[in-house]
């Protein structure tokens, strides 16, 4: 993994819009020109969710599809931090550091990219899709538990031609996103492929297996508890696949070559 190639920016963004996508999924647009302008798919912002120190730590959130000076965060309300965030109103100030970490590498010119997302893991891939701006042909596969757990709305699914799978069949293909991936790999078997994945660890494990066994290069984005977000505290370790210690997700990731990390230990999701 390369060393962090960008300089973190501290910016106080202004909330432009907050809306609920479904169930506990929220979509927030923030005016944050410096960070929005510098972000690449796979990077994240470290967000201070309260004005005081309760909760104490910032929350890492992937940079979603930016548009000009506007940053988009899409998140699931999980605990106290994301709940506070969902309660923000237009005009509220949000203290953020970003863009942090290493982005996904761009596909090489002869590679056909497949974006493989599980649940809320589609956020960095939406930005990736955005970056392709119709100029790069690609697939976007998204798995979810059920239609009640939709993380992108129907308009966007249609616009981005996202292929959906759901565990209960309530929307799209009845099965996992890995099934979809395998089908596509079979269909596309004469092309050079590169896979970009983000989602829960078990999904990433399957993704890694599928790609490694077919010698397809795959990049995945990881989540792990963080302190500083800037490579100073070593809180965000993920074991290296070679057994030689750890990478730091905030500095060496969050996007990693799938073969470089050990997904059996560590990480939470």
């Amino acid at each position: 993994m390369t060393d962090r190639n960008n300089t973190p920016i501290a910016e106080k963004g202004v909330v432009e819009q907050v809306r609920k996508i479904s169930g506990s999924v929220w979509d927030m647009t923030i005016h944050s020109p410096a960070i929005a302008g510098a972000s690449r798919a796979g990077q994240f912002v470290h967000v201070r969710v309260s004005d005081g120190f309760n909760p104490f730590l910032r929350r890492p959130l992937s940079v979603g599809p930016c548009r000009g000076d506007y940053l988009r965060l899409i998140f699931v309300v999980k605990g106290v931090g994301t709940r506070l965030l969902a309660g923000k109103h237009p005009g509220d100030i949000i203290d953020m550091i970003g863009p942090l970490g290493n982005p996904f590498p761009a596909p090489e010119t002869d590679q056909y990219p497949i974006l493989v997302a599980g649940g809320i893991g589609m956020v960095p891939l939406l930005l990736m899709d955005n970056q392709f701006v119709n100029s790069i042909d690609h697939d976007f596969l998204l798995g979810m538990r059920s239609s009640a757990h939709q993380t992108v709305d129907d308009v966007e699914i249609k616009r981005l031609k996202i292929v959906i799978a759901s565990d209960d069949g309530s929307i799209g293909y009845h099965g996992t996103v890995i099934d979809l991936l395998e089908n596509r790999l079979t269909e596309l078997k004469r092309r050079k492929i590169v896979v970009y994945g983000c989602g829960p660890v078990p999904m990433l494990q399957s993704l890694k297996e599928v790609c490694v066994s077919r010698s397809i290069p795959a990049y995945i984005s990881l989540e792990v508890s963080m302190g500083c977000g800037v490579g100073a505290c070593q809180s965000c370790a993920v074991p290296r696949a070679d057994g030689d210690g750890y990478y730091l997700v905030c500095r060496d990731g969050p996007a990693f070559r799938a073969s470089a990390v050990d997904l059996n230990a560590g990480g939470r999701s």
């Binding site: 550091i97 508890s225 500083c228 100073a232 505290c233 370790a237 074991p239 210690g245 560590g266």
Partner: protein, 305 residues
């Protein structure tokens, strides 16, 4: 009214009492684009050992219900040679003073690390970490043993003339004897305190939240404990004390100075608020103005008991 924020500590002059807490500010360069280094009297690096250490299995950090955090980094660090090779050129020695935190499993390891660092220019001193709750591998039981602490201090003293603070654990019921022994052995200062040993359990999954089960408990809940240790030590030794534990605002800083501290380490707070050094210094100056205090250092040890 102008308030003088400089602090004289034994042989050292610091531009402000603010320091960084070891391990929360990396090797001193990671925060370059975010933090105003000139507000710091000094920066203390991550603890450095002789060999590189990989650290503990993840997760390595979590929050506690009472508003603190627990980490189990396990002293992951570059090792002294890696530090010298990779970081010596980028250390923030122009804007502030640099203190290198040193850790070891044996007296010899402490000495070996310091010996190598003696060759690096720009280091103002050391902080000897004899108190990490996350590592304990036979050899030294530094977390409680007065003689072991004194041995580390006197052996390190024999290889350096630089300033040397000794960072102690809050897990002493009585801190006096170990503090006195460390001063006799040549300590120039104390850092009080390191983290408490703590742990968080998730009842739903029946799992600990840290890969290493237990870790070091820091942030606001630690403040009353660190304050007590600073005050207790200030009653028995006459060297400068660097406070560490739960400082998140200027009033916290004033409280520690009243209790006897002349240095104030910002640790966990930096994760939440990168602007903390600027804000905290302002809040302390505001307090001084309100109370007609010209020099911050006039507050040291002025608790009215």
């Amino acid at each position: 009214m102008r308030v003088d924020t400089s602090i004289r500590m034994g042989r050292l002059d610091l531009q402000t009492p603010l320091l960084t807490g070891s391990g929360t500010f990396g090797y001193g360069d990671e925060f370059r684009s975010l933090v105003d280094y000139s507000r710091f009297g000094g920066v203390v690096t991550k603890s450095i050992s002789l060999e590189p250490r990989p650290g503990n299995p993840p997760p390595r950090i979590c929050e506690t219900s009472a508003g603190g955090i627990i980490n189990s980094i396990g002293l992951a660090n570059l090792g002294v040679d890696g530090f010298i090779a990779g970081k010596a050129g980028v250390l923030p020695v122009d804007e502030t003073k640099l203190f290198v935190s040193v850790v070891g499993d044996s007296v010899e390891e402490f000495v070996a690390v310091v010996e190598r660092l003696e060759g690096v220019a720009g280091i103002s001193g050391y902080e000897l970490n004899v108190s990490c709750p996350n590592v304990r591998r036979g050899g030294l039981d530094l977390g409680g043993d007065r003689d072991a602490v004194a041995a580390v201090v006197s052996e390190v003293r024999s290889v350096t003339g630089r300033f040397m603070s000794v960072k102690l654990t809050p897990h002493y019921a009585v801190i006096g004897p170990v503090a006195e022994a460390a001063v006799r052995a040549g300590a120039d200062a104390f850092t009080l305190t390191n983290t408490l040993s703590g742990m968080v359990v998730d009842a739903e999954s029946r799992k600990p939240l840290l890969g290493n089960v237990t870790g070091g408990y820091s942030g606001p809940p630690l403040k009353p404990v660190a304050l007590a240790k600073v005050w207790q030590a200030a009653q028995v030794v006459d060297v400068p004390i660097w406070a560490s534990g739960g400082i998140i605002n200027g009033i916290d800083g004033i409280e520690f100075m009243l209790a006897g501290a002349s240095g104030l380490q910002l640790g966990s707070v930096l994760f939440a608020d990168y602007d903390a050094p600027v804000r905290i210094l302002e809040e302390m100056i505001e307090y001084c103005v309100r109370h007609g205090v010209d020099r911050l250092s006039d507050l040291i040890g002025r608790l009215e008991v």
